[in-house]
Symmetry: C2
């Protein structure tokens, strides 16, 4: 760090004599249009203004160490550079962003290629936590994580953290609902995390994330009390376990884990987004539409994706509703699929636990065949199927201590397919997890997949007492649906009724909207509103 010439080269790179470059695994080294190089360019291109790292939190955990150790050297040797203030303090924001992408047990959300179970207990996080504390705003929440790590790096910041912990400082780290934009200017989609009570909803609509990205646009996952209710599979890999192809990425990572059907998002005509082509997907990102978490009772994340399939516009709105009429937050899902011609729409739910019952009668297969031949379908055994014969159907399962019911505003003729992972897996590389898939014959124009997911009741194997195992929701209907608005109404067993409406074209918080549904007038300001129908909002 005493050689200014080397420092300059490290910061700004060598002159670029190529236009693009990739490594031998297809990973991007130099992107098209990229004209800068060096450490600062790397910071610019790897992190969004919110500190989101383009490959996702699993790789961010890994990448933070070299970024920070070099930044620390710069801070010592080139103080005038003010590296920790660079780009509005993006390196420090990245530390917070990374920690916000952990569940109640400290495990990173398994987005993109990610091995589950990696957490803020990893050794790479030691430096992040100490630097975040010292160079940031001395957030005592970070001290509590340092205490969990029970180790500090041999830096001044590490020493200061230890001293402050010894002084009795430290408080619970504050996890909050957060929107993290992706892209150097925050213009390439992002992830929205909604939190309420024990629930954590993660909607992903980032750019592709290069070689480690998955075809998962507009997918979401859901955690309860630190464990997954609706999962993202993560990577098909057993890092460093020799039996599994030397511990590297397994073939099934590409053929299953990256495919769209492996995620809780719509699949059109049995094909993955962008036909599974990374280069095409890398070019364009989804668009954030709304992220709103100021009102803890009605939190919303919403995004659009119009490029993943030709002639298909995908627009998903997820709302996490906390209302005293329900013991847990509800998840409203309004997933509109606008088609230029008829197509098959499939929406998979990768649930955990034991399937309990469904209002759709299911016929089990006597022998099992794979659901398809490619795009991940070849790995799913088709276990059972049934057909909706009502416009409201329920799918109910149990996991650990709670019951879950997906309340679906169905079309008669919609299909429910029960599946299990594990087909075409010669080396037993896949977990044999279950999922169910809602299928609809999509018509030209708008097709709204609408549902409300309820967490309810409880069960204990010690008391053997079962409480509220069927849930409290009584009906769900699409009450309004045009090119401008989508509305879903639902009732509970106490005959209370709610209507959630979103404007699908105007996201301004200034606009006032007014529509009439079944002779009732709804008027509100901003893009969305939840109405309790016997009351004014």
């Amino acid at each position: 760090m005493q050689n200014e010439d080397l420092i300059q080269k490290a910061l700004y790179g060598l002159p670029l004599d190529t236009k693009t470059a990739t490594d031998n695994d297809g990973g991007s080294i130099q992107k098209e249009g990229q004209t800068k190089a060096g450490f600062l360019a790397q910071i610019d291109h790897s992190f969004s203004p919110d500190g989101y790292y383009t490959e996702g939190p699993y790789y961010q955990r890994y990448a933070m160490y070299p970024f920070l150790i070099f930044a620390l050297s710069l801070e010592h040797q080139k103080k005038d550079l003010k590296i920790f203030e660079y780009r509005d303090g993006v390196l420090l924001k990245a530390i917070d962003a990374l920690l916000q992408q952990t569940d109640d047990d400290g495990e990173f959300f398994p987005l993109n290629d990610a091995q589950k179970g990696m957490s803020y207990y990893s050794r790479e996080l030691q430096l992040s936590l100490a630097l975040g504390y010292y160079y940031g705003n001395q957030d005592e929440g970070l001290l509590s994580l340092i205490q969990k790590q029970n180790r500090v790096p041999l830096t001044y910041s590490g020493w200061k953290s230890a001293i402050d912990l010894a002084k009795g400082k430290g408080k619970k780290f504050d996890k909050r609902s957060i929107y993290l934009s992706d892209g150097p200017k925050g213009e390439k989609g992002g992830i929205g995390v909604l939190r309420s009570k024990e629930h954590e909803l993660i909607m992903k609509f980032t750019q592709h994330g290069m070689g480690h990205g998955h075809f998962d646009r507009l997918s979401y996952s859901l955690n309860y009390d630190g464990h997954e209710i609706l999962q993202d599979y993560g990577a098909a890999r057993y890092v460093n376990i020799h039996q599994k192809d030397g511990g590297g990425y397994l073939k099934e990572n590409k053929t299953w884990a990256k495919q769209t059907i492996a995620h809780n998002t719509v699949v059109i005509d049995g094909q993955s987004q962008f036909d599974g082509k990374v280069k095409v997907a890398d070019r364009i990102a989804p668009d954030e539409f709304v992220f709103s978490a100021e009102n803890q009772k009605v939190q919303v994340v919403s995004a659009k994706e119009n490029n993943a399939y030709e002639g298909v516009e995908l627009f998903r709105t997820l709302a996490l509703i906390t209302d005293e009429s329900f013991e847990n937050p509800l998840v409203i899902d309004l997933y509109n699929v606008k088609l230029s011609e008829e197509a098959e729409i499939e929406l998979p739910y990768h649930y955990h636990g034991q399937f309990m019952s469904s209002s759709i009668a299911l016929t089990r297969n006597q022998t099992l065949s794979p659901l398809g031949k490619e795009d991940g379908y070849q790995h799913l055994w088709k276990v059972a199927e049934g057909e909706a014969d009502q416009e409201y159907e329920q799918i109910n399962w149990f996991d650990k201590t709670r019951f879950y019911t997906l309340n679906v505003a169905s079309n008669k003729g919609d299909q429910l397919v029960m599946a299990r992972l594990g087909a075409n897996d010669p080396n037993f590389n896949l977990r044999n997890d279950p999922c169910f898939i809602l299928k609809r014959k999509g018509q030209k124009g708008n097709n709204l997949m609408a549902s409300v997911l309820e967490t309810h009741g409880s069960y204990s194997t010690v008391t053997e007492a079962s409480r509220n195992s069927y849930g409290n929701i009584n009906s769900v209907t699409i009450s309004f649906h045009t090119d401008e608005y989508s509305a879903i109404s639902f009732t509970n067993k106490q005959d209370e009724e709610w209507t959630f409406i979103i404007s699908t074209v105007d996201k301004s918080s200034q606009t006032t909207h007014e529509i009439t549904i079944e002779d009732r007038q709804y008027k509100w300001g901003g893009p969305f509103a939840l109405f309790r129908n016997d009351l004014k909002q």
Copy 2:
């Protein structure tokens, strides 16, 4: 309790005017040959001299309360009866026996019809713990369990327990290797629990256990650190969960959970023991052969069953070996099947976790069919199969933090079948657990299924470090096998060799044995011995 006539009737029953009686579920009320009735007769017939309850620990937890609350009343009102000393203190022994049948988390071994997760935290145990402490020998280990319960009954014993806890008494409850005989005189088989470090091996060879019994003779299950490595499925039931047939026993309890293939024991010709007939099974019990746990390094449980199949003698010996050359205890399994004619032998392993690799090449099925039509096989999907082409084969899997390898002394031509539960289950009542099955074409005479199961290595998803994932055992061979002796030899990667020998006819500890294997002389006293071949025992 003031009416002596009623007390007498309660203690000794009304005169019996029937010979047998059953309830409407086929449960036994009065057994053939039973001439006594009342409370004392119930104690006599329900508990073995060791305190084992004939239906197993899950039901014992439930049954203990009425037994003890009545006993407590008798203790108060009829002190001269000395009810807690009755039959050498069998009620107090039953409390200890029940607690010894729990894993590291306090959960009861799921033997017979049992819902997993029931534990000594259940409310029924409060009275047992307080009475066990007060009327027993003031075992402070019980105090620590009372502290975990965090509640005492409103009895003098409850008060005394709370006082002693407040005085700071209490120590870790002592779990130990234990043999619990079954039957009123301890003459009807039993269960053997071997414990060493984090390992817990449970071998079951009790009498059938009436209506709640399973066809599971000579099966074993294995726990590591409080979780199951080789599981007993337990009952197919979700107690009190309405969706699942009102919370009662499910059809699959009979068609799967009770069947022999659902347990880690040999199945002959695809049929359950006693052809799945409870009445026949109830008539005769297996025989304990050896239980020895004095030497912590070589603990052995061994039993015979000659009635489950016509013309078949089953004799299984399990040894839990703790040796400094291995990081964890090993399980030696010598399962001899003596056949009067050729038959198919199948030995299932209901493992938990992810299959990693096998020295037997496996071919996966492109479509899945059930393994059979009845006796539980109709519920298993046949996933893959392979054939042994060596006389030593390994099957390796991973669960949570550890690796496991079954090292098999195979015959060329033995088959390995990978299966998964879930076929013919129209209402999704079964857990879709995996298992593998070792198959051998059994010849007339002795057929010895021999193996060594090794727990080894470690893996952490936080450090991503994998250690010793293949295990340390290098070979396993059947080194001697006659009508009088069985011996297994195994080596490790450090070229150390061990031989375990058991006399299969003489269980006396007085007898001295001497045999020669490959020019090496082995001489020992008692039924079994473990030799390290470069040293004397």
